[in-house]
Amino acid sequence: MNTTTAAPPQVRRVRRRNRNRWTVGWVLSRLPYWIVAVFLSGAAFLWIYPFLWMVSASLKDQLEVFASGLGLLPDKPIWENYQRAWGEAGFGKYLVNTVIVTVSTVVIVVVRCAMAGYVLARYRFAGRRVALTILVVTLFVPTGYTIIPVIDISQRLGLLNSLAGMIIALSGGAHVAAILLYMGYFRQVPRELEEAAVIDGAGFLSLFFRVMLPLAIPVTATVTLMTFLATWNAFFLPLVFSFSRPDLRTLSVGMLAFVGENSVDWSGMAAAAVISLLPVVLLFALLQRYFVEGVAGAVKS
């Protein structure tokens, strides 16, 4: 009863506020924001224009790319460009290579960093301090400058010129941040949880895989996303690993080779670029919040 009697005046008040919303004062106070929004819309359009131009060029035939100037809409979408990029130019193969390399690297990095972070956070053992010191010190070593020894050792191990070698090299270097993330998370897990699992008869392995790893899903999500992005976009290492094996190229390396050979095929280039960028852009569209949080974490910590 109380609620029904109390409701009408509230509704009336809300209505009145809605009616009065478009007063001169309100519009004037909001006007600067709308001007800024219009200005920012222009900037945002310019910002993504290169991508729009790329998609549009990929749907035009070669002459139309030049003839239509700045116009974005193609007369009639031409899908043959994608066929050409996918088949003849080898981007189908490059895409498969990139997916294999990226997925394997992400799996290896997540598993090895979670395991290392777990034992470093929850167990005391001789050498723990040393291990931590080495990790933190090498956090500042630029990985790009270690490329020569990496190539040398890969060659000695017979791993150069193979996808497996590329995967191991990509998942081997750096990723200290991932270990530290897992460490920070596992340290907060209450001891009681661990003890309860041990009383229930969990061994070391099932404690980690059944209890701890499932708990750390938020960290795993961040690490997966960041590793995925870094590996999909990797260039230097795949470039050097596929010098003598063009069939092992990833998308980024294949793109450079493609324009080196066909500098006049603009629409083919654009189609190849769309094939290469679409997966990351789609992933970004779906998981935008996590991307932003992953980046913002660097400042907060």
Binding site: L40, I48, A116, T146, W266, M269
Partner: protein
């Protein structure tokens, strides 16, 4: 890190469960600890720790990479690198790139972040997405696409300039040594703008809303708000964000190689491209020479890393005083 160690020490030393703990931690757990660490020790050892030491060793030998034989030459590689005007040129290009790109990126993204931080701004999430989009895309592919975007005859940039009547004929942005570096700087700022923007937005979010409200009640206008509220509160973040941006700016290999390959006439050859040219792109690779250059630049970057540590500590202090 020391704090971490100390904290777990106290946990273990807790008197209550000292004895029961020993029962619960049988020897097999130590074995498992090392099994769990093994992948990281092996991979990290081979691909990060070993290369750091190996590049020092390589920098003292002459070695073309084809043969096993390495001849010890002492400091000769270093002498040659330091005497090579092109090494200093690449150092200069890297410095110039950094000195221009970092402030432009940090300041521009702060301005946009201040706009986007206002809750009354319509479509703010859409703008944030648009500005962040280039960040997730593959740098090497963007670099190749940009070659076409800045094409002197048919690229969209020149088309626009021609249509607006700003130029009479297409400008070869990447073809002249006077403009190539600045074109890459512009693309670089565009590509990574979103990261710095998110940094700033995260920093701005740490200022509670009531601070703004209190200032507004006291009659502070937008400019007073920026000068007396936002600027002092953002000071510690400015140091961290600038340093993070600085460190990232030293890694421009992907964009540089795909947009200009160091040219024209070495005007965009950053140190990474210089090392790459001697190690992988030369007909007879000079791996010893390239390693010496890599070690020199690695030391320089480490120095900046140390500076970063000091800077962050200073930032923490000035943040903690408030």
């Amino acid at each position: 890190m020391t704090a971490v160690v100390e904290r777990s020490d106290t946990v273990v030393a807790h008197p209550d469960d000292d004895r029961s703990r020993r029962k619960r931690r049988p020897i097999w757990s130590t074995v498992w600890v090392w099994i769990f660490l093994a992948p990281t020790i092996v991979l990290y050892g081979v691909y990060t720790v070993y290369p750091i030491f190996a590049s020092y060793w390589f920098s003292f030998v002459e070695w073309n990479g084809f043969e096993e034989s390495k001849t010890w030459v002492g400091l000769r590689n270093y002498r040659e690198v330091l005497a090579d005007p092109l090494f200093w040129n690449s150092f200069k290009v890297t410095a110039l790139f950094t000195v221009v790109a970092v402030p432009v990126k940090v300041v521009l993204s702060l301005l946009v972040a201040l706009l986007l931080n206002s809750p009354k701004l319509p479509l703010r999430n859409l703008f944030r997405t648009a500005f962040f989009l280039p960040v997730v895309t593959t740098t090497a592919i963007v670099g190749v696409v940009m070659q076409f975007v800045f094409d002197p005859a048919d690229g969209p940039v020149n088309r626009l300039l021609l249509q607006l009547g700003l130029v009479d004929e297409g400008v070869s942005f990447l073809g002249h040594s006077s403009s190539a570096l600045w074109t890459v700087v512009a693309v670089y700022v565009w590509k990574w703008f979103g990261v710095t923007l998110i940094y700033w937005l995260a920093a701005l979010q740490t200022i509670p809303d009531d601070v703004y409200e209190a200032a507004q009640i006291d009659g502070a206008g937008p400019s007073a708000m920026v000068r007396h509220i936002i600027a002092p509160l953002l000071k510690p973040f400015t140091i961290i964000i600038t340093l993070l941006t600085l460190e990232a700016t030293l890694k421009v290999f992907d964009l540089m190689l795909t947009m200009t390959n160091g040219g024209p006439s070495f005007s965009t050859e950053v140190v990474e491209i210089y090392i790459y040219r001697w190690a992988f792109a030369a007909t007879v690779p000079q791996l010893g020479f390239a390693s010496a250059a890599a070690v020199l630049f690695g030391l320089f970057v480490c120095l900046l890393g140390l500076l970063q540590l000091v800077g962050i500590r200073a930032a923490r202090k000035s943040g903690g005083m408030r």
